[in-house]
């Protein structure tokens, strides 16, 4: 793994967010099994390195357009575990105040475009944020995430083409996790690498080991720096594996067991932990300290979310839109 001038503090921060992501989602799975979650649950276990590595490559005022497997990036942009869990519980304290659920949240002030369901819809929107940066001569970058399945949608094509023609400061980041729901890659596209699609737009396309957080970080950093200097967009593909079902209701029995076994050996957190230990940045003491801090943060978030009120069924909440619509 390349060191890429990342300080130990930064490395530990990356480690922390990888673990926080895994821990929070693990907690949500438990809550789901206990019937305490409203609706479905989308997990990024095994592909946290793409979200976290990418976000680690960004500046504070850069913007992200997350997909449904980018909790790690959202957290690094300042979305809190409390907000995340309150969202899953449909509470007033979630970022959509109960109006939307689970992974459908964001906060533009913190640089997170609110995710919506239709796959790839956020890619043109991200291009527009980049356009605003360009028009305002701001040296900011947008990182826009999507899945292999999303790359089949028209909006993917239109967005990447538009960004390339206008030389917008975008990094398009693909979680190539081998599946879109039950659909394997070979039924999604007749090419091997999503990054090859970059050729259709005249932008650089890079494929990296998506389970190597520093490799992701460095590919995105390079792309972001080019974008920041006016060099236009890049398509970065991280090869990874969706280690759970599409959502928690899905047992993913269509995924061959050997695939999961192979990929489990490549777990991004284990690998990065090992790397940090090798370099003596991490040891048992620090690991325990981090774990303790994490479980405290997570349990506080659960308590907060559960204690939070539901939105009111009538009154201001529903009326707010009427106000927005009024002249």
């Amino acid at each position: 793994m390349p060191v890429d001038n990342v300080t130990p503090t930064e490395l530990l921060k990356i480690y922390y967010y990888l673990k926080l992501t895994r821990g929070l989602e693990q907690r949500v799975i438990t809550l789901y099994r206990q019937g305490r979650i409203v609706g479905g649950v989308y997990i990024s276990a095994g592909e946290e390195a793409i979200a976290v590595g990418s976000a680690a490559a960004l500046e504070a005022d850069d913007v992200i357009a997350p997909s449904h497997r980018d909790l790690g990036a959202n957290l690094m942009k300042g979305i809190t575990p409390k907000e995340y869990l309150a969202q899953y519980l449909g509470k007033q304290t979630g970022l959509t105040r109960g109006r939307d659920g689970n992974v459908h949240y964001g906060d533009i002030k913190r640089g997170v475009i609110g995710f919506i369901s239709p796959m790839a819809d956020l890619l043109p929107v991200a291009a527009g944020v980049g356009l605003a940066f360009k028009l305002r001569r701001e040296r900011r970058v947008v990182a826009a995430f999507f899945g292999d399945g999303a790359s089949s949608r028209g909006d993917f094509h239109e967005a990447l083409n538009l960004a390339a023609v206008m030389k917008l400061p975008l990094v398009f980041i693909c979680h190539n996790n081998q599946y879109a729901y039950s659909t394997p890659l070979e039924r999604q596209m007749a090419i091997e690498h999503v990054a090859d699609r970059a050729k259709a737009y005249g932008m650089p396309g890079v494929t990296v080991d998506g389970n190597d957080v520093l490799a992701v970080r460095s590919a995105v950093a390079e792309a972001a720096s080019r974008a920041r200097q006016g060099g236009g967009p890049t398509l970065v593909e991280g090869k990874t594996m969706r280690m759970r079902g599409h959502a928690e209701h899905d047992d993913a029995s269509y995924v061959p067991a050997w695939m999961l076994e192979e990929w489990r050996k490549l777990d991004p957190i284990d690998r990065f932990g090992g790397y940090l230990r090798e370099r003596q940045i991490l040891d048992d003491a620090i690991a325990t300290e981090i774990d303790d801090r994490l479980s405290k943060e997570i349990e506080e978030a659960v308590a907060f979310a559960e204690a939070s009120p539901f939105p009111e069924g009538k009154g201001p909440n529903q009326l707010r839109l009427a106000a927005l619509l009024a002249p």
């Binding site: 109006r99 939307d100 659920g101 239709p118 879109a180 659909t183 999604q188 529903q318």
Partner: protein, 323 residues
């Protein structure tokens, strides 16, 4: 034997696939996975991957390709994973599928299955009822069954229809609604409503998941001497105005109930037609009970306040009966 609404849809698909080898299905995750709601479970094994096609994540191309196959005389049945994503194929539906037979006189035997509706805690993007958009588009037929029997009979009729039909199947009803279906080819004709409960006080014109709620309201009002007539539209386009008018002529009072937002919903058109065509029979204002003019909310509290139900229908029906 009672079967679920979902099983009725499954049976219709199965029997039509079996009957006519030009019928085939395409959609996301309908093969190996059997569909997000498992409607097509077992179809791949029986009919093979050429007739049960797992497609890329491309709603517009799926509908477009179905149109193309239909032009060649095949009978494609598209599954939208959720009706909410039909907006991604909107242009193909309204500009290509709907207009083609008018423009060129060529049939386009295409069915789009749209799992729609709320009550399943699924938020703004997995709960919408988008039928009104298509109601305004000439060249499309729309059906929205409320019972297993209609679900089966209308789907068969849709598949045999020479032109595009959007088949709205309600996600809440999938497993919550059970009923008898006849064996064999019990087709339900497109364009025919059904009086689900005869009554004398107020005509409740409705469809989909609101049929049960309206029948619930009728039960609730019976002790008060208010006798609701519940008309299940079953087909939304073309509307069965004869049945609607006959009912309103009898009761003199009409309300329309649907789950989609009231503003711009199909209820507006029905009320407008009554206000024109049944004016002389009307003894009271025409009321509509429908969702408010906001996106579909996620949190259960908000969802409950958003969706019409038997209570809300009863409240308005009482108002109307006492007018």
């Amino acid at each position: 034997m009672e079967i679920t609404y979902l099983e009725a849809i499954r049976q219709a698909l199965w029997e039509e696939m079996d009957r006519d080898d030009q019928v085939f299905m395409l959609g996301q995750d309908i093969g190996v996975y059997g569909g997000a709601f498992k409607v097509t479970k077992g179809f791949l094994e029986k009919f093979g991957p050429e007739r049960v096609i797992d497609t890329p994540l491309s709603e517009s191309a799926i509908v477009g390709a179905a149109i193309g196959a239909a032009l060649m005389g095949m009978r494609p049945v598209v599954e939208m994973q959720f009706a909410d994503f039909i907006s991604c194929a909107f242009d193909q539906i309204v500009n290509m599928a709907a207009k083609h037979h008018y423009r060129l006189g060529e049939p386009v035997p295409l069915v789009i299955r749209a799992p729609y509706g709320g009550g399943i805690h699924a938020g703004p993007y997995h709960s919408q009822s988008p039928e009104a958009w298509f109601f305004h588009v000439a060249g499309l037929k729309l059906v929205a069954p409320s019972t297993p029997r209609d679900a089966k009979g209308l789907l068969k009729a849709a598949i045999r229809d020479p032109n595009p039909v959007i088949y709205f199947e309600h996600k809440y009803l999938y497993r919550h609604m059970k009923g008898e279906v006849a064996d064999g080819d019990d087709l339900v004709p497109i364009g025919k409503a059904e009086v689900k409960r005869p009554g004398s006080s107020v005509s409740v014109i409705t469809y989909g998941a609101m049929v049960q709620q309206s029948l619930g309201a009728a039960e609730r009002l019976m002790p008060e001497g208010i006798d609701l007539e519940v008309v299940d539209l079953r087909t939304l386009q073309p509307l069965d105005m004869a049945t609607i008018l006959a009912s309103v002529e009898k009761t003199g009072r009409a309300m329309v109930v649907h789950e989609a937002p009231k503003t711009g919903g199909i209820g507006g058109d029905i009320a407008a037609r009554l206000a024109e065509e049944a004016f002389r029979y009307l003894d009271a204002p025409i009321l509509r009970v429908a969702a408010p003019h906001t996106p579909f909310p996620f949190s259960p509290v908000l969802e409950a306040s958003y969706l019409p139900n038997a209570d809300k229908i009863a409240l308005k029906a009482r108002e109307l009966a006492n007018f």
